[in-house]
């Protein structure tokens, strides 16, 4: 059996590494698969691939726009899967999309298709715990990790259930609100991170509003790593090339690596140029399933 998303991330974390999962909306720009490659090359521990949906309820303007562009360009689930099948970047790929695409035929069919294309995880923000039962079973059958979300508003009791049911990692929302960049790291994020860490051994990654290397580094202190989406998508919409996006991911990578064991108030003065960390130093590349 091949390494699962969860095994891969857990192993990397075990090696003392802060986890970094950058995001790209499939089809938002021609050659978006090069963006995935650039992310991987820049030290991503997994890459989240957004399957664009017309009504992305949990997404802010940036990812909405990326989704609209992708859909306008004719991006479909089938087409994304075709392109992903050809991708081998050495780290796991995780699909992120909305329930309506997942349930087009059935959750089982969708999971099977993802697995066949080599994806290792699935995030569906509008399918919460109560609605996730069948989908979780279907995913498990396909050795696909269904990642559940936890929010600052989630009760401790419910966090426990989410942590128990989630696979791959727990996606911890830094704040109430939609995706998009924000300045501060909210206190509630720190609390959520601490709570989840107490409740589970699964990796806990923060997402939503991670908008600078320094912020990523600070957030990572309260959990195991971060998902970075809007900050990258904004650059992509502004015309950034895969190489430039990769450089940005690398800068977050450096901040995360530097942040290990540092106090939060030192982050602002992190040296600009640090040795580019080599993921291979820590955990080997992902063998294709």
């Amino acid at each position: 059996m091949t390494t699962s998303l969860e095994e891969f991330l857990t192993a990397r974390r075990a090696a003392g590494r802060r986890l970094l999962v950058p995001y790209v909306t499939a089809g938002a720009a021609p050659g978006w698969t090069d963006v995935v490659r650039a992310y991987a090359d820049a030290g991503a521990d997994a890459v989240e691939i957004g399957f664009p949906f017309s009504d992305p309820m949990l997404d802010g303007v940036t990812i909405q726009e990326a989704s609209d562009r992708a859909i306008a360009a004719g991006t479909t689930v089938t087409e994304i899967l075709r392109e992903v099948t050809a991708l081998d970047v050495g780290v796991p790929l995780v699909a992120m999309t909305y329930g309506n695409l997942v349930f087009q035929r059935s959750g089982a069919e969708f999971c099977a298709a993802l697995a066949t294309s080599g994806l290792r995880g699935l995030i569906v923000p509008d399918v919460p715990l109560e609605e996730a039962g069948d989908l979780a079973d279907a995913a498990a059958k396909e050795h696909l990790d269904l990642v559940l979300l936890a929010a600052p508003s989630t009760s401790r009791d419910r966090l426990r259930q989410i942590a128990g049911r989630s696979r791959g990692f727990v996606y911890a929302l830094t704040r109430m609100g939609t995706t998009g960049e924000r300045g501060e790291v909210p206190e509630q994020a720190a609390r959520l991170g601490r709570d989840l860490k107490e409740l589970t051994d699964l990796p806990v990654l923060f997402g939503f509003g991670v908008s600078s290397p320094a912020q990523a580094a600070e957030l990572a202190r309260h959990a195991d790593g971060v998902v970075v989406a809007s900050a990258l998508m904004r650059r992509l919409l502004d015309g950034a090339r895969p190489r430039e996006l990769g450089e940005y991911v690398a800068s977050i990578r450096r901040a995360l690596d530097g942040a290990v064991d540092r106090e939060p108030d030192e982050h602002a003065t992190l040296p600009r140029h640090r040795r580019r960390p080599d993921p291979q130093d820590q955990v080997g590349p992902l063998p294709r399933g």
Binding site: F53, S54, D55, P56, M57, L58, D59, G60, V61, Q64, D68, I71, T76, V77, T78, Y98, G99, N100, L101, F103, Q104, P125, D126, V127, P128, L129, E130, E131, L148, L149, A150, A151, P152, S153, T154, S155, R158, I162, L173, M176, G177, T178
Partner: protein, 391 residues
């Protein structure tokens, strides 16, 4: 779900057969739970019910009359009775639901109401209830709807509400829903999302139907007084999300009346939709082969919605209600015809129900001599400017 349980409490899962549920981000789950608990508690509290009934009576103008449409009935060879939601305060059935939800929000200690709006009627109703109870109101409205329902935008301003233009997607109701949900996620602590139809995550479809049930219950009693057979042969209402229809049907679901929901041809989720998940619930949704939700197109801003309330999808599957479509042109003709035969300028939304009745009566789809109850969900003042060119 057995036949006798139709239009009852959908339980904690919020399921109506295959439909409904609570497909929202985890961030909103506690809020949905909180609202469900608060609603269950309030709905079982005679004090709350009294307060609601009082406001609906002394403030919103209930009960609304049942008007026999004498001249049009004669022309069509049927007996047509109009349930006059157009006579409520603010001019549509939306107020029934909003007064209920605003009281609930107040009971829950919320300080602000959020709402999406298409035709602006729900937005105006929300702004109204907010003013009445001293709450703030923020209303999300598609830019396109802001243009075609300017009167209602101005009304909301006068009422002190903040109207937020939504510039994404089709810039109509669907996008306003998205934006309202997004905003709700970010402000769930002090804000209550006052949803305008029988859609959204549980408990909304159920709760809104319960708040609109008053239409059907009043009409049921009025029909009993008016009709020899007590119950009409047909009960007809237009469907955007489906709240006026749900409230009406709820009063007749256990009778022999045939229930008919009428959609805009360009927004007919019950007719042309497939099962899907949108705005927090599973139901029939207009979508392309890839699962992208389509833009609805209707002359009536309030029906420009690509989904349908989950309970309607269930009623359709079980055959208890049927769903029909009419074209924009039929709708405008129906509006003018009612105005000129009965002196009632109905909303474009409501005119959908009428357009179907006219077509069915004239084509024999409704047998001569039949009795038809039609819910006139709102008045047409808001539409006058936009149909000017269509006359």
């Amino acid at each position: 779900m057995t036949e006798h349980a139709l239009m009852s409490d959908p339980g904690t899962s919020g399921r109506f057969g295959d439909y409904g549920g609570r497909y929202v981000p985890e961030s909103l789950i506690p809020a949905c739970h909180e609202i469900e608990a608060a609603f269950r508690d309030a709905w079982a509290d005679p004090g709350f019910r009294d307060r609601l009934t009082t406001l609906l009576t002394v403030y919103a103008g209930r009960p609304t009359p049942l008007t026999p449409a004498h001249r049009l009935s004669r022309e069509l060879g049927i007996t047509l009775l109009l349930k006059r939601e157009d006579l409520t305060h603010t001019g549509s059935h939306k107020i029934n639901n909003v007064v209920g939800q605003a009281l609930l929000a107040q009971r829950m200690g919320k300080r602000r109401l959020l709402a999406e709006t298409g035709a602006g009627q729900h937005g105006v109703a929300t702004a109204t209830a907010a003013a009445l109870l001293g709450l703030r109101a923020t209303v999300f409205m598609g830019e396109r709807d802001i243009e075609r329902q300017e009167l209602n935008v101005l009304r909301m301003h006068v009422l002190g509400a903040e109207v937020v233009p939504v510039t994404t997607g089709s810039r109509t109701l669907k996008d306003a829903c998205n934006e309202a949900m997004r905003h709700w996620v970010a402000s769930v602590d002090d804000s209550y999302y006052c949803l305008g139809s029988v859609m959204g995550p549980h408990p909304y479809p159920w709760m809104v139907r319960e708040f609109q049930r008053v239409i059907g219950e009043e009409a049921r009693a009025q029909c009993a007084a008016e009709l020899p057979a007590a119950v009409p042969d047909y009960v007809v209402a237009c469907i955007g999300g489906g709240s006026n229809a749900a409230g009406t049907f709820a009063g007749f679901v256990d009778t022999t009346a045939r229930l008919v929901g009428v959609e805009a041809e360009g927004g007919a989720a019950a007719t042309f939709g497939r099962a899907g998940v949108l705005h927090g619930f599973r139901s029939l949704v207009l979508q392309d082969e890839h699962g992208q939700v389509q833009e609805a197109h209707s002359v009536a801003a309030g029906l420009d919605y690509p989904g349908i309330g989950p309970e309607h999808a269930h009623l359709r599957d079980g055959g208890r209600a049927r769903y029909e479509t009419v074209t924009d042109a039929e709708v405008v003709r129906a509006l003018v015809r009612l105005a000129r035969t009965e002196g009632i300028v109905a909303a474009l939304e409501s005119s959908h129900a009428l357009a179907w009745v006219i077509r069915a009566a004239e084509s024999g789809g409704i047998a001569p001599g039949s009795t038809v109850l039609l819910t006139l969900s709102g008045r047409g003042d808001k539409d006058i400017a936009s149909i000017k060119e269509l006359l």
